[in-house]
Symmetry: C2
């Protein structure tokens, strides 16, 4: 039987570590980490996500502020708010909940956030640093994937890794992190021929295609490790209720070494990584050299390295 | 027999196109493109490279200025010069020849160049844009690799591409460009197991390992396309003279569809791409919408797309 990688438990461990770091910061006379979440408009799902993030902040001792703007707020208003938050020394993380209303240029808004406070890790500067292995804030989901992987992989060097999906928010950054860890990395996508054969050679599979049960049992070699990033809401034919399924046919991959469930795998890690990113950003912005915002030892990279070395 | 991809001829074609673009800019009342090359100290090889770049500019009608600083120039002096050039409307490209003297922080200097004038494409913002497929200036050698590839590959979609080497200046950006072109991409490196078997499946091989004659004949399947980025200077045992060899055992791969020679393959493309990048940057900085410096249609991306669509 494959080991089930318990994302909820690992997220709780990370939260405890984050809380300890906050306590240490306060003991050292630093300002308490502060995260601002900006919500424009009344999108229902966004409100749920924002509430969840705010609540998670409380648990680990991060100050959180929710800034609400009406749906018809102008782009200039939003940019002015971000400019003000960029300069505010009590704010260490800025997160602008997407989707934004259509009259606002999302890309322009996201790159107006200071790279040092971009706890989502989507600013081109952070993407560039990640790509070149020179620090920067690592986006939350890819960071979560790597922490889950390192809970079961002893040595990444020379492992064959296959990433399914080449999105900017999951596939590509995960591929870069795996390359940094010295894996041989194949990135596959909708135009890939013979995906089953490619997967069959993999020691590590990261499935982020958003295609329910795409990865079948006979795509997976004995002893592989599988991280399932996909989450699709489908109707359960037996119960008539909605349920969440991943990109992996979970029941068919019991010959793997380890696999993440959906739900309860990657999902819980994302908010935990957001909190960890916020604390690392707060440390770096307050001159903590161990969490320097400079190239070599930037926030999450430090944390990721620490997580790896703490194994 | 494999087709020999003639890098010198393709570089000449690109230069002609670049020259035509300069003429069109002048006819449209724009400022002539200007490239500044900064050389710190007296490194012999660097002087040769700089002279070659300056001379190439003349041929296509780009204004070129060489700024020399003494080897003991301070980092502050260099940063002040770059700051001044960033603001100079007659300067559209800034290139700081590396290596810099040891007392200067190379990374800090390179990222002080405005991303819009970073014709080498190494600024984190440009790396990030390349990684996310959202424009930016593409580094010269990877751009050259893609232009050579598109001279012989009709359709990239779904092709299996293997990149040997994961350097920030060649391997990783080439991998990103191949992914953008919808190839399935495997990035390999020194820790990769069974590289021969991985190469044997490839439709496209880009060798950038700096390991002479690494890629043997039986690593290459019939009809593959091979781009050899490696250049190593070795002693020819027969003649007793130095000669340049690539990463590919050229004589053994005649069953390939096409292969670049060394020298005369990728090498000549690099300066031609630098000139093309400079003109695209000059167009973008002067508000030419077709070469916008904004995300979607940034300088080299436009050129690359044009080169592809002109096929």
């Amino acid at each position: 039987m494959a080991d089930i990688i318990d994302g909820r438990a690992i997220a709780r461990q990370l939260d405890e570590k984050t809380k300890t770091q906050v306590d240490e910061m306060l003991a050292a006379g630093m300002t308490r980490p502060g995260l601002v979440v900006i919500l424009v408009g009344e999108d229902g799902a966004s409100q749920v996500y924002v509430r969840r993030k705010i609540k998670a902040c409380e648990k680990v001792g991060i100050n959180s502020i929710e800034h609400r703007l009406p749906a018809d707020a102008s782009q200039e208003e939003l940019l002015a708010l971000i400019d003000q938050l960029n300069k505010d020394p009590e704010v260490h993380g800025i997160l602008c909940q997407v989707p934004l209303p259509e009259h606002i240029d999302t890309r322009l808004v996201l790159r107006s956030i200071s790279p040092d406070k971009d706890v989502d890790g989507f600013h081109p500067v952070n993407v560039g640093r990640l790509s070149t292995g020179t620090g920067g804030i690592v986006p939350c989901t890819p960071l979560g994937v790597m922490i889950l992987l390192q809970s079961v992989v002893d040595d990444f060097v020379g492992k064959d890794a296959v990433v399914i999906g080449k999105s900017n928010i999951v596939g590509k950054p995960v591929a870069n992190l795996l390359l940094d860890a010295e894996c041989t990395v194949t990135v596959t996508h909708i135009y890939t021929h013979n995906l089953p054969a490619i997967c069959r050679k993999a020691d590590i599979i990261v499935a982020a295609a958003g295609a329910p049960k795409l990865v079948k049992g006979d795509w997976v070699k004995d002893g592989a490790v599988i991280i399932d990033v996909g989450i699709t809401r489908i109707m359960d034919e037996e119960t008539g209720k909605e349920k969440l399924v991943g990109d992996v046919a979970f029941d068919e991959v019991q010959h793997a070494k380890a696999v993440t469930p959906v739900p309860g795998g990657v999902g819980p890690m994302t908010i935990a990584c957001l909190l960890a990113n916020t604390v690392q950003a707060a440390r770096a912005l307050q001159g903590d050299k161990d969490a320097s915002s400079d190239y070599a030892d930037a926030p999450s990279r430090t944390m990721f390295t620490e997580a790896l070395s703490a194994k």
